[in-house]
């Protein structure tokens, strides 16, 4: 970092003197390495440094944002301050009358823990590990691995945030992720499994991911799907979902609809709105429908202790024992609701405005074991992994389709079935949960929202859950 907070303070002061009632400057740097390996050969190595200054100003109730890359120098940053003001003035022609809710703002430095620093291991060693993972894959009889692409990604994110009302936050956040796509042929068909692992920390994460094992397990799943699975059952039956499924449900059907900017309609033409725009309070599910979003989980992919407006982070309960609870707020939406921000403002990089985002969203665990969930299912289906999913733009109707799934008969897992689909509303889904296991597990994802779209790292999690009498097929 070449620039110190004083330079950012000068930019904030410059915008304030030009008439901004609120001004904010963020120096935001992401430096990353990407390696792509295909079928045991290195396709390419990539380096990226996304570094620049992001500025926001409120003038006459209009909000302006401007950015400038470090490659445009200090002059570029100062010129951006002028563009932020011009942008805010243009916005004030049809103003949203924006204000920032008062908040207990931080003045702190946060360094995420990194046991094995990312730079302490050579690129060759990182590549070797990917090649070894590929070499260790074996296809079961009858299955041919057509294509295996592994993508390793690491990034170190540094930020300094200064606001006109006193926040001063400096952060250092290293992250590591592995993505892969496995394509297999068998039984006259082809299928693929795409998967992502990610966390905040150093290279110790590669051991924690155990991605070599998840890849092997996914080859098995493809073998089950292509070689052993029967067509899916149809009808009303009990369904047990794995943590992989409960995680995506927490994110899509509880996290997104609880974003206050979406509820207010700020994303209406892009990521859509929320059923919580008209369903303000009340019941959304059974007593097992508790969903929490918590940025403070150490090592999580969505980890932070202060958001991008300088507000200290905390866990937020979105659904509480079946009832609608908190919304996720930044300072702008908090002002509209007359509440305090709960620190959900996140920006992907210096080119992005901070907007309301999730961090690590999960369905709270219960006290059952997985076996106990199965025990009193006479006839049903267990979905272990999925590929296809989507949800409508108010986060009400959703669909999940299993990659690996099994019939449950008299409390035991029986034959595999492929492409099992459940398509149900958020209320039906959460109301149907009658038991949750203890086995909370998290999965990494890249959440999309905003215009231009901002993909940000999140965790999605949950335990095994049991749904009673839902429509399958």
């Amino acid at each position: 970092m070449r620039w110190d907070p004083d330079f950012l303070s000068m930019l904030v002061e410059k915008m304030a003197s030009a008439g901004a009632s609120y001004a904010e400057a963020r120096l935001h740097s992401i430096r990353g390495l990407d390696v792509v390996v295909m079928n045991g050969m290195v396709v390419s190595v990539g380096r990226e440094s996304v570094e620049g200054v992001a500025l926001r100003a409120v003038v006459g109730g209009g909000l302006g944002f401007a950015s400038s890359p470090l490659s445009a120098g200090r002059e570029g940053a100062e010129e951006a301050a002028g563009r932020a003001i011009a942008s805010a003035r243009a916005a004030s022609l049809s103003p949203d009358t924006i204000s920032m809710a008062p908040a207990r703002l931080g003045r702190a430095r946060v360094e995420a823990s990194e046991r094995i620093p990312i730079d302490s291991v050579s690129v060759e060693d990182k590549i070797s590990r990917l090649l070894e993972a590929y070499k260790s894959l074996e296809a079961p009889e009858g299955l041919k691995l057509q294509n295996v692409v592994i993508h390793y990604s690491e990034a170190v994110e540094r930020k300094i945030i200064v606001t006109s009302d006193g926040a001063l936050i400096e952060t250092y956040t290293p992250r590591v992720a592995v993505f892969y796509n496995i394509t297999a042929k068998g039984g006259g068909r082809t299928a693929n499994r795409w998967f992502q692992l990610g966390g905040t920390g150093g290279l110790e994460l590669l051991d924690e991911f155990k991605f070599e094992e998840t890849m092997k397990d996914d080859v098995e799943s493809l073998a089950v799907n292509l070689l052993k699975a029967s067509p899916p059952p149809r009808g009303v039956m009990d369904v047990v979902l794995s943590p992989e499924l409960s995680g995506i449900i927490a994110h899509e059907a509880a996290g997104h609809p609880s974003e206050a900017d979406r509820v207010l309609g700020r994303e209406a033409a892009q990521a859509g709105m929320s059923f919580r725009s008209w369903m303000k309070e009340g019941e959304i599910g059974s007593e097992y429908a508790t969903v929490i979003d918590d940025p403070t989980i150490p090592g999580s992919y969505g980890f932070y202790l202060y958001d991008d407006e300088g507000v200290p982070a905390r866990a937020r309960k979105l659904y509480d024992k079946g009832r609608l609870a908190e919304l996720l707020h930044n300072r702008e939406t908090a002002a509209v609701y007359g509440v305090e921000s709960n620190a959900a403002a996140r920006a992907r990089d210096y080119k992005s405005e901070p907007i309301v985002r999730m961090a690590n969203t999960y369905i709270a665990p219960g006290d059952y074991s997985f076996e106990e969930l199965l025990e009193d299912v006479k006839e049903g289906v267990y979905i272990k992994k999925y590929m296809e999913w989507n949800i409508d733009d108010v986060r009400w109707g959703q669909r999940y389709v299993g990659l690996e799934a099994y019939i449950i008969k008299n409390g035991r897992l029986a034959e595999p079935v492929r492409d099992v689909a459940i398509e149900l509303t958020t209320k039906t889904l959460f109301s149907s949960i009658d038991a949750a296991a203890k086995d909370l597990k998290f999965y990494a994802g890249t959440c999309g929202k905003g215009e231009p779209a901002q993909g940000i790292p999140v965790w999605m999690g949950g335990p095994h859950i049991r749904l009673r009498r839902v429509k399958v097929g």
Binding site: L33, V43, N192
Partner: protein, 438 residues
């Protein structure tokens, strides 16, 4: 530091360090107005100064994108990583340059993007009048792109773009959305798109609500949803998607019949009215308009020199240093007017917009996508009811074979779910499987 000075410094740093290089500098500005029912939510203004480097040492390949303060140092450090890479199966030497500078600049857009002064757009589009009724986005952009390669390319071009969309609401469950895109300040196109969105919402609000039963229906796709699905087809025709295991054309070859004979899709980098127009690709190869699917037949995958070498084909001028990419997409028109499209639909469902297209199996093409905005239930060629949030849950190969007719008017579409500028008409499907959530 001027762009020319940056290029000189980076090229000087690369010489002697690598065997081959290509350097791209994108230099420009972009401004965006975002609005919704409560007014303009934000006006954003970006300064672009991004430096991209492709470097090859032997058959080892690396890519670098930096916007650091000291690009020369950042590039030098980054190229170090390439030395430690392995021989790439995708490697091919950089080609002799054949491209030409081909610019498309609207001075008004250039000035607006560069200064961040976009107040006149708020006024021209009367955005204050949409308060309480609509949400959307308007974007103006100006960039100059410079390319230098060790194979001799030294090319540049400039472009502007004017792109946006609006979503109108009538009550809680009636809405309509439409978009436009152009290289010039085409106010008429913007107003036409905004008018379309307003009309769809109003039309839906007038009609009774009816729940759709899951099943197979004749389906009319608006250019918005057709653009999204065609983008998936174009992505599947990208040689990169084939190699990386994400294409439902993975077992197809040029000459194979993959769609109804009514469908023709073209990649058109030479359409100067659409913002991805250009005269050279990232390897310096001349771009050209090319048919991807011609009357239902797969005509060409999209290639750069690397995928072309691996798949025994010629570059189609669609580089991408690592993988190819489409530029502007066009679907050839049919001969029906909008009214005739509805008449041809007879009894069926007219879906006006969608989002969230996801594949269960990329290789077999099974997928679903969710409608948003107005969905009309049509009987005897007339909309009789409005519904919403239905899902097409089908397979892409089947959808492609079920294309029965196309409209004669093409619309320039680009938005959140159609990333590439796409000139496309209405598309009529003889059958698609629709579902709803319960």
């Amino acid at each position: 530091m001027t762009v020319e000075a940056v290029l000189d410094a980076v090229v000087k740093a690369l010489k002697g360090l690598v065997d081959e290089y290509a350097v791209i500098v994108v230099d420009g500005y972009e401004s965006m107005i975002k609005f919704y029912q409560r007014g303009v939510s934000v006006v954003q203004s970006w300064r672009h100064r991004e430096i991209g480097v492709y470097a090859a040492i032997g058959r080892k390949m690396g890519m670098v994108w930096v916007d650091a303060e000291d690009p020369e140092k950042a590039v030098t450090e980054a190229v170090e990583a390439v030395k430690h890479s392995g021989d790439s199966p995708l490697y091919a030497p950089l080609p002799e340059p054949s491209g030409e500078p081909l610019s498309s600049v609207d001075v008004k857009l250039k000035e607006a993007a560069s200064s961040g002064e976009v107040s006149f757009i708020v006024e021209d589009l009367e955005l204050e009048e949409t308060r309480g009724k609509a949400a959307g986005m308007v974007k103006v952009e100006y960039n100059k792109v410079h390319l230098i390669t060790s194979a001799g390319a030294d090319l540049d071009y400039e472009y502007t773009s004017f792109n946006g969309y609006a979503r109108f609401f009538e009550g809680r469950d009636a809405s309509g959305q439409w978009s436009w895109t152009s290289t010039r300040y085409d106010l008429a196109a913007a107003k036409r798109a905004i008018g379309q969105a307003r009309e769809l919402a109003a039309e839906c609000a007038k009609l009774p609500r009816e729940k759709l039963e899951p099943g197979e229906y004749r389906v009319l796709l608006s250019p918005m949803i057709a653009g999204n699905l065609v983008e998936e087809v174009v992505m599947a025709a990208n040689a990169g998607a084939v190699l990386f295991g994400f294409s439902f054309f993975h077992d197809k070859k040029p000459g194979d019949l993959v769609a109804s004979e009514n469908l023709t899709i073209i990649d058109k980098p030479r359409d100067m009215e659409l913002p991805e127009a250009r005269g050279f690709d990232d390897e310096g190869v001349a771009t050209r308009d090319k048919t991807i699917i011609e009357r239902g037949m797969l005509k060409s995958f999209l290639h750069n020199t690397k995928t072309a070498k691996l798949m025994n084909a010629e570059s189609t001028g669609n580089a991408g240093w690592l993988l190819p990419r489409p530029f502007n997409v066009e679907v050839a028109p049919g001969d029906l007017s909008p009214e005739e499209m509805l008449e041809a639909l007879r009894d069926g469902v007219y879906i006006t917009n969608n989002w969230y297209t996801r594949f269960q199996n990329h290789l077999e093409g099974t997928f679903s996508t969710v409608s948003r905005d107005a969905v009309f239930i049509v009987k005897g060629g007339k909309p009789v009811a409005c519904t919403h949030r239905v899902r097409i849950a089908d397979s892409m190969p089947r959808i492609l074979k079920n294309i029965e007719a196309l409209g004669r008017q093409q619309w320039p579409i680009q938005w959140w779910e159609v990333r590439h500028p796409t000139r496309i008409p209405f598309i009529l499907l003889s059958s698609a499987r629709l579902t709803t959530a319960e």
